[in-house]
Symmetry: C2
Subunit: 216 residues, 2 copies
DNA sequence: AACAACAAGGGGAAAAATACCCTTTTTTGG
DNA sequence: CCAAAAAAGGGTATTTTTCCCCTTGTTGTT
């Protein structure tokens, strides 16, 4: 059979309009066929657990999905089907999530409004060479490896404190809100200033927003 | 001719993949036909200036486009073809731009990852009733009309001050940076606190980010 | 000329934030 | 169980932020 020689692709995306049109686009390339489409990570994993995954050449995995999102799905794949090749798809270029998808094994990351030509190039590249990264993503990777030595981990209470620090509350008010002594809050603040290399509460707010601890 | 009775739709969007699939979707509804597609506002306006626009029933207009973006195109339509019905399309839900599109005459605002059913509902609704707003957009409109009496206008120096306030500089440092007395900076701050109904510099930073005076 | 509106700046004081150094209690790894 | 680390809190001093009330020019309007 002729179709059996085509590269087999699976699309996991809750957005039907997009996933349908992506299937049409891929078909139009000629060398590929979309063997399945799933609307979230959960149903995709259910499928994998009951089917042979050896004949899957590529997975196009949306990041933002209900039920089980792209990152969780990616982590499951890393643990259970590490041989599968995945290109992550998303509408935004959130650095954190891109890095997380890639460190969990994604072989490429494309924005959903990427042009058809780049889509084709990326799909071909991942299937043949094993990876495809746009300039955007490469830049982020370089950023990361340059600043990865000092990885910052925040504790749960620090996160709560930071969220409160991003309001017009005074530290005293934050302390009573968190049922802690103002002095303890002082301690949190000073330790964070030190860790994050900042000097003022303004710096803390900017850090929190940049790293999406709070949203505007 | 049968097709002439169908509602005529124009798509203006630079993302071919999306605009193609949107055309297919619209065709699948049966009652509509996509008579033209354009990749930016410029070529669309060129077309309008050389063609009769009376037979256009609806325009689906992307917000983010090269050459001439959705807002500029919307403003041109408001001035030159106010009778045309437009649904704005965008990947993000930026309140400012949504409000601007609507105040410039857009009859609806849809996120690009809206489901096909909602797309159909919105298109039908705008053609028949003249408008369609999702809950998201309605909420924003209510917000606006409730806070629109006191429209806030910031002067150039205030903008500069706000930008500086969103750094770890002290007011004294900001003053010398702006070649003004610290007391003048005090004045700027107090007038802004009053105008923006905030009480602390943190509130100022949050306001600035929310209103995109500074970007993170 | 008289008036309002406004930008720039000042004095002084209270509140909040920041810095530095310290003790006690709890948790935790070995 | 013990030692070490981490969490919670205290004391005190300095700097920064915030608030309120005030003066002096400038500009534009009637």
């Amino acid at each position: 059979m002729k179709t059996n020689s085509k590269n087999k692709i699976i699309i996991v995306d809750d957005h039907l309009l997009f996933s349908q049109s992506l299937e049409l686009l891929i078909k139009s390339f000629g060398d590929y066929e979309v063997i399945e489409r799933f609307e979230n990570g959960k149903v995709f994993i259910d499928y994998l657990e009951n089917h042979d995954s050896e004949l899957i050449d590529l997975i196009l995995l949306d990041v933002n999905m209900p039920v089980l999102d792209g990152l969780s799905t990616m982590k499951w794949l890393k643990d259970n089907r590490p041989e599968l090749k995945v290109i992550a798809l998303s509408v935004n270029d959130d650095e954190d999530i891109i890095i997380k998808m890639i460190t969990n094994g994604a072989k490429g990351y494309l924005l959903k409004d990427t042009s058809p030509e780049i889509f084709r190039e990326a799909i071909e590249c991942v299937i043949e060479k094993g990876f495809y990264f746009t300039e955007l993503v490469s830049g982020m990777l370089i950023n990361k490896v340059n600043s990865d030595n000092k990885k910052i981990s925040l504790k749960e209470k620090e996160i709560v404190f930071i969220k409160h620090a991003c309001t017009e509350m005074t530290y005293k008010e934050i302390a009573s809100e968190m049922c802690l002594s103002p002095k303890t809050i002082d301690g949190y603040r000073e330790s964070l200033f030190d860790k994050l290399e900042i000097k003022t509460r303004i710096g803390l707010v900017l850090y929190a927003i940049k790293h999406k601890i709070v949203c505007v």
